[in-house]
Symmetry: C2
Subunit: 192 residues, 2 copies
């Protein structure tokens, strides 16, 4: 049993994901999740405000780790390079791949979870923008760099989940290169 | 009175925005919106499923116009250039600047409206991805190009709202150039 599975929060997350996968998100109650994890409902609500939140247990930690890593990058680094360096901490925070794959499927099948995910991603994007601004980048640059960073992070996560042996930092570089190609292949855009 | 203000939907949108601005989103009812627009509640629900939706009246039309414009671009155009060309139709669909500025302020002040906006943006991004895929671009390229396009669209809209005399197509080009600079200024990302 990994350290994550052994803790209360991790047991609740795994129990919830298993039940959502087996019998559906709508049909699963907090009481059932707690019971499956051999815990009480009260324990559940100590960790999560509602049923939706149980699949987003790592989002705050990811945000905090990214922000801390951004502030640890040497000050003369460009905005996107700063984010790319910070993003390399992601695998230290991510849940196990098997958990994340099942989680992706459950979220894709349930609009309330999709909405919650959009809110979490918007919060993360906002945190990256704020951290870059605090490092002296102007607001439009910080916001655009955060947008680019979020696109790279999404692509990287998809590739990382699909390939058991992939190296996260290499995937980050490859995703950034792909985005750069898209931005540079049509140097002169034509307007009607 | 412009054509938009003269129609039923436009009158409801303007009445709702005025009331949200004057007395707050939470305190405004659908009955009050209908009354301010000299219409019935039934008229309101013919156009909008709920109170939140009244500020997103143009989102479906924008999506449809973008998708149609994407499919009208010559087939050998790169994915981002295709989006950039399609985006030039936006000012034909956008509500008047004064309306949009007040709308932005109301959305920023109300989390339920922020959530609805995130859902609308995700839907638009998905529509762009699908349209690019239908033109033969592979899934990762289409998704990354849509991400880049959404970032450019957001920046352009902000600049367009801030400057009464701005040319939309020029702002699109400038925003794309800024994103390109961010992507290319650190050609070699370093990893710890």
């Amino acid at each position: 049993m990994s350290r994550w599975e052994g803790n209360t929060r991790g047991r609740l997350e795994q129990a919830a994901l298993d039940l959502f996968t087996e019998q559906g998100y709508d049909r699963t109650t907090v009481a059932q999740i707690a019971k499956r994890a051999n815990l009480t409902e009260r324990s559940f609500y100590r960790w999560f405000p509602d049923k939706r939140e149980v699949l987003f247990g790592g989002s705050e930690e990811l945000e905090e780790r990214f922000v801390a890593a951004i502030h640890a990058v040497p000050g003369d680094t460009g905005p996107l390079a700063t984010l790319m360096s910070a993003f390399t901490v992601a695998p230290q925070v991510y849940r196990p791949r098997d958990f994340l794959r099942k989680r992706t499927a459950v979220i894709a099948a349930n609009p309330p979870l999709q909405e919650r995910e959009l809110i979490k991603l918007a919060s993360l994007s906002q945190a990256l923008t704020t951290a870059l601004r605090e490092r002296g980048h102007d607001a439009p640059t910080a916001h655009l760099a955060a947008d680019a960073g979020m696109a790279i992070l999404r692509t990287t996560a998809e590739r990382w989940l699909a390939d058991e042996n992939a190296d996260y930092a290499q995937l980050l570089s490859a995703s950034a290169a792909d985005l750069r190609t898209i931005l540079t292949q049509d140097a002169a855009f034509t307007h009607p």
